[in-house]
Homo-oligomer: 266 residues x 2
């Protein structure tokens, strides 16, 4: 997962197929067939390095999944469905499985998950942090304050902000770069900007978020000094929820001070 330096199509396809539940033989066999179009066990074995005697089992597996058809002759001929059809097939199946998962999980989810917690939770990895922020945006009812130094304001986030804005949530942003700022003005005209600030002008910055004055999140990039922008995944965040939560209290104080003193229209 971490080692993926734009490898060749072969290995990429094989890796994905394996992760979708095929055995390595089946995966290699299918990839071989996909490049051949059709072929015999021998052909497949030669280009895939699957032992010829095992190609038949692999074909069986692929047949069960509807990925390969067989011509009953001697030698048997195998035929792979097209790349387009194959991916459509997988997408369909996986969509179905996520639906099953969603249903099952929500059935056993507790009625209400208690908010109002002591202490703070930690999240690791940029994508995970973003995911969490989006979640919080989605739960906002009145106000979102979001502040970032670099351009940690991706399309996902803008979309989530847009949805919130349409619900009537007031949105206050800071630290947005000029080009993105223009986009925001178009997409979410109701959003107001306030001056970024302060201590970490050019530090390995992260983000800072508060929704409804009772959910807050702070993040930072871990490689403080050395490799600052090398690995984009090295972000760590902490968040807390509830009026009495210490992190919430602190951030609320900072933000209200800042928002009050700042020029409200900028």
């Amino acid at each position: 997962m971490t080692a993926n330096p734009t490898q060749d199509p072969q290995s990429a396809a094989i890796e994905q197929l394996e992760r979708f539940g095929l055995s390595t033989y089946a995966a290699r066999t299918f990839v071989a067939l996909a490049s051949l179009g059709t072929g015999t066990a021998r052909d497949v074995s030669q280009v895939s390095d699957v032992p010829r005697t095992r190609v038949y089992d692999a074909i069986d597996e692929l047949r069960d999944r509807g990925l390969v058809d067989v011509r009953q002759s001697s030698p048997k001929q195998f035929w792979a469905i097209s790349a387009e059809t194959a991916s459509r097939l997988f997408e369909q199946e996986l969509h179905h499985r996520t639906t099953v998962l969603r249903t099952a999980l929500s059935e056993l989810e507790p009625i209400e998950r208690q908010a109002e917690q002591r202490g703070v939770w930690t999240v690791e990895g940029q994508s995970a942090v973003t995911e969490r922020v989006i979640d919080f945006f989605a739960s906002a009812e009145e106000e979102i304050v979001y502040m970032t130094v670099e351009d940690l304001l991706t399309d996902d986030l803008i979309a989530a902000l847009g949805e919130a804005a349409e619900r009537g949530v007031s949105i206050k942003l800071a630290g947005v770069s000029a080009p993105v700022q223009e986009r925001i003005q178009d997409d979410i005209p109701s959003a107001t900007m306030f001056e970024s600030l302060w201590i970490w002008e050019d530090t390995p910055a992260g983000r800072l978020m508060m929704v409804d004055g009772r959910k807050t999140l702070v993040s930072a990039l871990v490689n403080g000094k050395d490799a600052s922008l090398s690995d984009p995944r090295s972000e760590t965040a902490i968040w807390g929820e509830g009026d009495a939560n210490s992190l919430v209290v602190v951030l609320k104080a900072i933000f209200t001070w800042r928002l009050d003193t700042a020029d409200p229209d900028a």
Copy 2:
């Protein structure tokens, strides 16, 4: 995989999570946490039957995937993301992975896959057969003839027919049940019906298809006598392509005879 009699949410969720690449410990841990909301290693161990000493590893795995956050206290507290967020996360990831697969596969697909083949290919399983039929519909340029005895004309197929019709493909159907027939008239007004027929009036029937007079498919349900409609997955089809293909020749003869003699407007 075959044993799936609408099991309880617990096992269903665990099964899906495992198939998405989580270890069984991680899957069980997440499900436990999902029902608890938050909890310690001990809590998790009790409801999930994961050895307490291994909950930590499982949490690490879940953390890497952004499914769980941790509160650094003693004992540590674990927090699971919501069912909704989790499934969205998976759907996103899987969509991405199918895209990677699609790209990789199409890069190594041969320039042109030779049509015009001797012999016939076999497909097994109702879903696989349907998939293949849809594929052929999508490749049709002039004419589709499709004939089925039972209601092997699902929404997928109707949709595929619709798309073909919009491309200007002429569509000829037979053996469609009355209710479905009405639907067709609405969705695809250009389609013409002809009388089903013949030998297999109430046999364990299948389908019969021809596109552009050069691709044909015939299917049958295998459990001829005993369990006819018990297992819907026991369908087998054969198909062939090319003007000289024997199956094509036979079917073309049958159909042209049938279509010529039948009343063209019915």
